[in-house]
Symmetry: C4
Subunit: 229 residues, 4 copies
């Protein structure tokens, strides 16, 4: 498929996936954004592009044509609107993590609440072991406007099985092999943040042994689903 | 009705009931599954089959044709997709509890939160006495992949009036005379888990005397509804 | 209008108002019921009738024709299905409180949570002063099957400005001049139960002086809305 | 555009924006109201008008024609129904804050819960720094019926970057350059009130340094969105 065709297809995917964010209650108003890498050449590399939502546009207005295309420096290469103010963070992740094909950012309530306390979500649910392989980690506090958010995401996720990081006082960023996988991780991180929060409200949770976490994670990553995850 | 016709009818019922899970907020993404027994012969027995959802398929894709059919060892006998990864647990329940005609599994938030603490939901609501006849019990921690989840469900429910068990660190499994009754139990267990959780957040709940629980349960099981429950 | 016409009109009103209960999140599955008095003669009296939902029927099936008509002893006088299992309580209220034209019962979550602790909802919101004129009171624990629920409702509401009572370990019953007003009270009691619960989770609420509560209540009952409330 | 045309256009805007309140879960039944200033002359002044919802009308009935027009004393100048009972407060704000073009009032749950404790929402989220530039302040307790609510709003907002004030024991009022901006502030104040509430339920939140709050606020107010906010 030509890069032009791939960009068109990716605009449709990214526009459609934005609708999943309000559907699952992850965003209000215009907060939150989804992007997906467009590989230019035979494998992921520095010449890749990505498609992302423009800034300050409501979810009712999100069409494929409204999406914008950026290079891996975060510079707009196609589109009539300014890209999302989180574009630099997405670009940094694509530059430094070639296996990542999709990135999602939300301020989903329970995940952001753990981020406001700077506390990782402990792995006390079998579905967390399946999906995250352990705790959901906390990233550093970082101001918007340079590479510090992107760097915080990459440094935190490099040492973790988790496809989600909770940036301190800010909210979750999630990654995946494509934007669909990153959206799934955004849905699941809010779900486990909410369930563990509620469990902890009335007392201590029962830990899961590390060996059991490892066993659940290995099985789920290998056999779940219909060939694709 | 022939077994073939019964399987077709059951595929429709099971597909339709899966839509109840997101409708009542019990599942996100592809989590959760519903199954119903197909009696082969004059009464429930080891040659029965059951219809269940395939693995890793979203709720928007759930048609009667997509459902799969398994025998009571959990082996796929009809269908083009892999059965749910929880199939072995459903099969174990049907093998060991002949009066059970439907099984449901979810990770509904409040029920799963009690499961993460390993704490039964105490019977402090008249609607719990009606529907559950007492506390909602906790089942053991069990890894997926062999009979341990099914065995934990059966051993816990055998000694209880409750049609719901909260598997530790995992989530609720519910049973009923058919899949509709098991879905109702899945909806109700989340509702009572949520209400009692909220009650307990601000202090102690008032217990209901055992004799009153028994009286409410006996009345409800005998006279409620329009002949069928 | 003839009693027959009035009954037909009331069947439509009561069927339509049942849809408000799931719309506002007050009920799950088949729980909850709405009724409205049909005055027989020139003013409310012992020969009146009321229209109520049948027992154990889902909210998707609630048509005017499905509604049933009872006399003030709770005996079915028109309809093909058994009346709601809460019919005796509704009948008792209509028999003893002639100014009440509508009754609603739900197990809405936050109101039921206060009921499970046996704790009145304190009047710490101006909208509570407006609508309830003070605290929302707790009624006694009562078993279903005789007059004890109805008697508990009437004895509690007689001494209160509140159109809502939280029956202990059970849930809210609300009353009004008609079923619409009782449904509004059911919506509002859940809203204030929820808001005050959340306020109390993080500390003490600020009381409102009794004179201010009285002033807000008097104003609201006299001047709010477009002539009708 | 003539004042008559401007009024017609504003009726449409205000009617449409009321639908945002239930959409985002900010109101139940008939609570909550939105208004927008109509500038009469070359700049905002004492001869301006504003469009607001009538009193006690459900959200399903809100058409442009149902909206009412008042002058800045809160006197009805066009419309067939009584204006909202909160009209005096809206009028006071427009009289005293000429840069305010829109006002919204709700009883949204989490914002009202902070108001019931009389406790400001601390700025511990980057999105709060962006949108509110600091804590969300508490206004005084005030009875309805004279200028005391309006005066409380104006005195509190004059000394704050926040477009939202939580009136004690009552609920949030928000302002903006137009009604759309005030509705956005109403949605965001509930979101941050909810997220910080949930964060605080399990422990202390991490503060954000004042310099970082200032930096985030300055950036967001200057560069976010597509020219308009």
């Amino acid at each position: 498929m030509s890069t032009t065709d791939e960009i068109e297809r990716t605009r449709e995917v990214v526009a459609r996936l934005h609708a999943e964010l309000p559907r699952w209650g992850l965003v209000v108003w215009t907060a939150g954004n989804v992007s997906q890498r467009v590989v230019v050449g035979s494998e992921p590399g520095p010449d890749d592009l990505f498609v992302i939502k423009p800034s300050g546009v409501t979810y009712d207005e999100l069409t494929p044509e409204a999406m914008v295309v950026c290079d891996l420096d975060g510079t707009l290469v196609d589109g009539t609107r300014a890209p999302s103010s989180d574009t630099a963070a997405h670009a940094y992740v694509y530059r430094h993590l070639p296996h990542v094909g999709g990135v999602v950012h939300t301020h989903s309530t329970y995940a952001t609440a753990w981020a406001a306390r700077g506390e990782p979500v402990p792995c006390v649910l079998t579905m967390m072991a399946d999906e995250f392989g352990g705790d959901v980690p906390i990233g550093p506090f970082a101001l918007i406007g340079d590479d510090s958010i992107g760097r915080g995401i990459v440094e935190t996720l490099r040492d973790s099985r988790s496809p989600a990081v909770l940036m301190r006082n800010h909210g979750p960023f999630t990654v995946g092999k494509d934007a669909t996988a990153a959206v799934k991780a955004a849905v699941m991180v809010e779900e486990v943040a909410r369930t563990v929060h509620i469990a902890r409200q009335l007392g201590d949770t029962v830990p899961i042994a590390q060996a059991d976490i490892d066993s659940l994670y290995a099985r789920y990553q290998n056999v779940y689903g219909q060939d694709t995850k």
